[in-house]
Amino acid sequence: MSITQRVQQWATFGRVWHVYDCSYQNPFDSAKVIVKYLKGMQKPIYHPMNDCGDHVVCINTKQIALPGDEWTKRAYFHHTGYPSSATWTLAWELHSKDPMMIMKKAIYRSLGGNLQRRHTMQRLHLFKDDKVPQEVLDNITNQIRQLRPVPQRLDHIDQEVIDNFPKIMDYPEDYLPKAIK
């Protein structure tokens, strides 16, 4: 094999590092997209036995958005193996314990079951915020498009813009908003 051919092979099977910003994204929908990159299904050389998957760096996993009332209704089951040690942790509870766990489990689940799953998971790098080590950051050369736009938050908008925003009425000074339960 000549150097040219070897290098062609090297480039074909080179692993690209992608970054995915999880803020305000549905983890279960995002997982389907991320899995595609982890398995290398976006490449025309894909084969289930072909080790051509890429790396994906997920940042801001703390900012994920679960749909509907999933935060309070979704339960994560765990069993240590000892009798009566089954636990059901609610999503909000799990997220407060480990902000990366929901994302991780979503991706692990959508990878489907086979012997490659745990090896493929090694190519997933999760970070709860945007503080990514420099050596990981250097590897990244591609960004996966977010599934939906990040909404703008009222408290992130400048006070000046809010003040100048056209209004049809002002609340009376003695108005008390209804308390949130």
Binding site: M41, Q42, P44, H47
Partner: protein, 135 residues
């Protein structure tokens, strides 16, 4: 019965069955354990193996079609098209390449594949224009 010569005592045993068994052993050569050496076990496993082989001929085709679909969609990833749009566009442009060839083109002839995807994209855009004119 009285045999007058010793020759008659020998029994005519017909053809040599060794060659018949040899055919089976040749096919069973890669089986595990005694299944490759003992005829009665070998023939049993061989029959099962041949049944599997027959069934798999159809399954293999299905597997490959699935793989080609996956590869074509993989190749289309960077051209902004989906599999069904691409195939639909090619079909309407009377390009009769099959999935196997398209998958090969996606991997080995990316430039050709890109021009094919452009053709499909043109078809799609023309259709969109038509629809908007109707409305």
């Amino acid at each position: 019965m009285v045999f007058l010569t010793a020759l008659r005592l020998t029994r005519a045993r017909g053809p040599d069955e060794w060659w018949r068994k040899r055919k089976v052993f040749k096919l069973a050569a890669f089986f595990y354990g005694r299944r490759r050496n003992c005829y009665s076990l070998a023939i049993r496993s061989l029959h099962r193996a041949l049944v599997y082989a027959t069934k798999s001929r159809a399954l293999k085709k299905m597997d490959l079609i699935e793989l080609w679909k996956q590869r074509i969609s993989g190749g289309l990833e960077s051209h902004g098209l989906e599999y069904w749009q691409f195939m639909d566009g090619l079909h309407k442009s009377n390009i009769q390449l099959n999935r196997k060839v398209l998958a090969d083109l996606a991997a080995f002839e990316p430039a050709t594949f890109e021009s094919l995807s452009k053709i499909a994209l043109d078809v799609k855009e023309a259709e969109n224009d038509e629809n908007s004119n109707k409305n």
